[in-house]
């Protein structure tokens, strides 16, 4: 993959970087379509979009092997797609269809696809940390890695402290990834979270913990790849705090009026798609090439939702 034209200092080649841009663009357009479908009444219930977070699932997925597993959260559509789940099956799950990843039984917050190493998306804060910690128990000595993703809102939860301690004392091959987007639901993180950063909490357990630019897919990928390499040798666990920002509200009903004026715009200047595109342009990849990601993404999203919406709902008799 790493061919001509390195994209910056990260060691990620232009081809790989282009593929990651395509994936991030795809996730962005997918999430926008989820929102639009929701507004049209096609996605029932609620949704939690990962718009703004895309560098994290994409940078992480590129560092994992097919035998590694991930446990993510209700804001996990991006991770599920980045791991290679069938986009039509994801769209079908969000719209409650029989061909959905979970057969329509789980919905947006519980996307699960064992065939692609997604042992679950967890609708209750902290569940992902426990699931990955337990997977780490199964993976001792195998070279396989379990990943937990969770938000900054998880950092004050019992699961957070119990699982970090548990994984640390048994040196489990678990990569803990905090997607720190500055808000726990509607509340600014610093109002409810003591201390300067969340990584410091992991360090007190003797866990190697690093603050990562979660808007730069190169940085996420570099740190995730280094962590995975360590974990495969039996050294673990590792903690990455990826600073990011969600460009939309917590869930479908949240207009996000609690943000200070200008904050969103400031973060949007570091939109992970823009950061990746700029890096590619700096590396000599022409705009005509990076621009192709857009059309490809839109077409894949269109097909996924068309397939999902044309497919039948589950039969109640079967799900009883």
């Amino acid at each position: 993959m790493n061919t001509a034209g390195g994209a910056g200092e990260s060691g990620v080649g232009a081809d790989e970087m282009l593929a990651m841009l395509e994936q991030m663009t795809f996730i962005r357009r997918f999430e926008e379509e989820v929102q639009a479908s929701f507004q049209r009444g096609e996605v029932p219930g609620t949704t939690h979009l990962c718009i703004g977070h895309e560098a994290i699932p994409v940078g992480l997925a590129a560092a994992l092997g097919p035998d590694d597993v991930i446990a993510t959260t209700y804001r996990g559509h991006g991770h599920v797609l980045a791991r290679g789940a069938d986009p039509a099956a994801v769209a079908a799950e969000l719209t409650g269809r029989a061909m959905g990843l979970n057969g329509g039984r789980g919905g947006s917050m519980n996307l699960t696809d064992f065939a692609h190493g997604i042992i679950g998306s967890f609708g209750i804060i902290g569940g992902s940390m426990a699931a990955a910690t337990g997977a780490g128990l199964s993976f001792r000595g195998t070279g396989r890695v379990a990943v937990a993703t969770f938000g900054d809102g998880c950092a004050n939860h019992g699961y957070f402290f119990e699982c970090l301690n548990f994984a640390a004392v048994f040196r489990l091959p678990v990569l803990f990834i905090c997607e720190h987007n500055l808000y726990g639901e509607y509340t600014p993180w610093e109002q409810v979270t003591a201390g300067a950063d969340i990584a410091a909490r992991a360090r007190v357990f003797g866990i190697d913990a690093t603050l990562v630019d979660g808007m730069d897919v190169r940085a996420v990928h570099r740190h995730a790849a280094a962590a995975v390499a360590r974990l495969r040798t039996g050294e673990g666990p590792v903690f990455l705090e990826c600073r990011t920002y969600r460009f939309v509200g917590h869930s479908r009903s949240d207009p996000a009026t609690y943000r200070p004026p200008g904050e969103l715009e400031e973060w949007q200047r570091r939109d992970p798609l823009i950061v990746a595109r700029d890096a590619l342009h700096d590396a000599g990849v022409p705009e005509s090439v990076t621009g192709e990601a857009e059309g490809t993404a839109r077409e894949r999203v269109r097909q996924a939702f068309a397939t999902a919406l044309a497919s039948p709902f589950p039969e109640p008799a079967v799900t009883r």
Partner: protein
């Protein structure tokens, strides 16, 4: 003859031997062998990768058991006292119980939670509760409760081999009871008629089964009443059919529950029996514990717990008029 706790240990040994994916972990289960010495010697025999002590961390223990169970392991965890299940319940209810169904059958969740329950040992209000009823309303869980060493052995082996999460309750006042073990498999969720009788049906679990048998003998020899005694053996699945079949013959049902009346298994069972066989019922009654926490002081605790004399008295007063 084998002690109840040794029967549990033997089931663990047999399943650890039979299946390398079985793990045993919990607080003080390994080096110390458990506070009731149920797991004594397992770490020496099977090594510290498969049998290990954990932090005092019920949420992580149970959550890790879930994660291990969906990735190829068959964990058997111990929650030292059933009361501590309150700390483990998010993982058990919102993950373990849900995942086979919610994933549309992508995974099994083969985990067992062993936990010590029950009053009468002067442990006070928060080391004696029976958390089975807390979890009885959760589809996806099995909640079982042996009353004798043979069932403890057979049901724990079945629980470890089960692909769904099983809560396995061990009454602390049964640990020293003795009995013969057999290799006969036990199907989880089935009740057992332990004594035949045509006048009244007495249903109980765990310690209450032995109490009911003592009461039944006294009723037979001193009162001329033949009681049928059913060991429910499981809170979920609930074997309503076996109780209905008995009640269709006796017409009278007494449930003996170590627990509060409201929200108890007895109330739920009677409701289902009524729904299925109202015409067969002449009378129903519940003998249970008072509506307050179980007290510490021996006379207070003894007064709060139903025993054989209470069972006999209630049958005579309420149901024994025939």
């Amino acid at each position: 003859m084998t002690e109840f706790r040794a029967a549990i240990r033997q089931a663990l040994i047999d399943e650890l031997t039979a299946d390398p994916s079985v793990l045993v972990f919990g607080e003080d289960v390994a080096a110390a062998g458990g506070v009731f010495t149920v797991t004594k010697g397992l770490q020496e025999q099977f090594g510290s990768t498969r049998v290990f002590d954990t932090p005092i961390s019920e949420l992580a223990i149970t959550g890790a058991a879930f994660g291990a169970a969906v990735t190829g392991s068959r964990p058997v965890i111990e929650i030292m006292f059933g009361d501590f299940m309150a700390l483990a319940m998010d993982s058990l209810i919102n993950q373990a119980a849900k995942w086979r169904w919610v994933s549309n059958g992508q995974t099994a969740v083969p985990l067992v939670v062993r936990t010590t329950v029950g009053a009468g040992a002067r442990f006070g209000p928060v080391h004696c509760q029976i958390p089975g009823t807390w979890m009885q309303n959760i589809p996806g869980l099995k909640v079982v409760c042996p009353s004798n060493p043979a069932d403890a052995y057979g049901m724990l082996r079945a629980a470890i081999r089960d692909d769904d999460p099983v809560v396995f309750m061990e009454h602390k006042r049964l640990y020293l009871d003795e009995g013969e073990l057999t290799d006969a498999p036990v199907e989880l969720g089935t009740a057992r008629v332990v004594r035949r009788g045509g006048d009244v049906t007495i249903v109980s679990v765990m310690k209450g089964v032995g109490d009911a048998l003592v009461a039944a003998e006294a009723l037979a020899t001193q009162d001329g009443i033949e009681a049928e005694v059913i060991d429910l053996r499981s809170f979920r699945p609930l074997d309503v059919a076996t109780v209905v079949a008995s009640v269709e013959a006796t017409g009278r049902l007494l449930c003996v529950e170590e627990g509060a009346r409201t929200g108890g298994w007895a109330a739920g069972l009677i409701g289902q029996v009524a729904a299925d066989a109202l015409g067969s019922l002449d009378d129903v009654a519940i003998l249970c514990t008072p509506d307050h926490p179980v007290p510490f002081s021996p006379p207070l605790e003894d007064a709060a717990l139903p025993g054989p004399e209470d069972i006999r008295a209630m049958v005579r007063e309420r149901l024994g008029g025939a």
